[in-house]
Symmetry: C2
Subunit: 216 residues, 2 copies
């Protein structure tokens, strides 16, 4: 795992330390020591500490909003959309644990305008999942009517993954994502018969798993 450049090494150390000790709990001197340069050298790669935080958070928010957009684009069927959304959600948070922690707990240390941007993006992410659940409920695929709370729950479940996931554990991120897709389908109360009867995109990815009778 060769460090390609100081910029890279600094970015990686920043994510690791901000995630562990928080933005305020990490000094420029801590970062410099971790990378093996002088404190002043950090400022060759950034204009301020807050800029480092913003870089991490804005990239992360962009990533997950991209995942959400791809989930909505994958099919006209809310079942397929939910499956892809949840898969992306869990896999991203498992593979970007530090970024997830930072994005969720450290945005209060951004300047006011940036804090507002992040707040709006979080809102947009939750609302895009909520929209999937709403459409599925309208079509009669998802019997669960509390779409707002269901949406919050599914988002929170994924954030939980970012807290305990270890790539060295018994399950890969892929396997965990599959389990969480199953949890999601149960939580929204997928009606497999209703879905099989009127799916607008027959044969979409996961349609078989979503309509086949469940193993006892």
């Amino acid at each position: 795992m060769a460090r390609r450049s100081s910029a890279d090494a600094i970015e990686r150390a920043t994510v690791r330390l901000f995630a562990k000790y928080g933005f305020v709990g990490v000094s420029i001197r801590d970062l410099a020591a971790e990378v093996g340069v002088s404190p002043a050298a950090i400022y060759n790669h950034t204009s301020s500490k807050e800029e480092m935080l913003w870089k991490i958070i804005s990239r992360t928010m962009g990533d997950i909003l991209g995942n959400a957009a791809r989930a909505e684009a994958v099919s006209a069927c809310p079942v397929a959309q939910l499956e892809v959304f949840m898969t992306n959600h869990v896999k991203y948070l498992a593979h970007h644990r530090g970024e997830a922690r930072i994005g969720n707990t450290q945005w209060r240390h951004l300047t006011d305008e940036r804090m507002q941007v992040v707040h709006d993006q979080r809102d947009q992410y939750a609302r895009s999942l909520e929209a999937i659940l709403s459409r599925g409920h309208s079509k009669g695929y998802f019997l669960q009517g509390s779409v707002k709370f269901a949406s919050f729950s599914l988002v929170a479940m994924g954030l939980g993954v970012s807290q305990w996931f270890r790539s060295t554990g018994d399950h890969s991120a892929e396997e965990i994502a599959q389990i969480y897709v199953e949890f999601a389908m149960d939580l929204v109360r997928l009606d497999r018969d209703a879905h099989a009867d009127s799916c607008p995109d027959l044969g979409h990815p996961g349609a078989e798993a979503a309509t086949a009778p469940r193993p006892a």
Copy 2:
């Protein structure tokens, strides 16, 4: 809402500010200014800043472990235990939002031994929920076999509540707890027939809701 004493006012301000800006992001001077005393006066009520953090976290962990113990004691039936566990979980986290945030994100700023205590308590909490799910699965009430991940998911869902809940919102904590109990029963795939057939504690609290056919 009269402040009964400075000690009380300091404790409340500490929870509020630690939850919002983090342990390292709040200075003794911030706390003093919030309460309206001099910085030095804070030390009439505590021996150190870390002691203030420990007081909040240890009390909170004790509270939720007590909730978990009461859930296991309420009945011999895992369905009743899960219902009570989830109700307590959601209601406590809705009513102690600041403490929940602090307990979940600020324990890294405790001394090593205290950090270990909190780590063990978090483990114990998750394992007590996991034990309920395991017993329910063995008895054939809960069809979901991924009890570890289901347990993590239910804990994370509750932590989500502590992030967005407002007592001024459309739903009371009680109402939200009921919805989340429903989510939990769906996520573990409660088999209502199996439960009605062999519940070891017929007539336990919630048994009716847990066995009655679901409204369409």
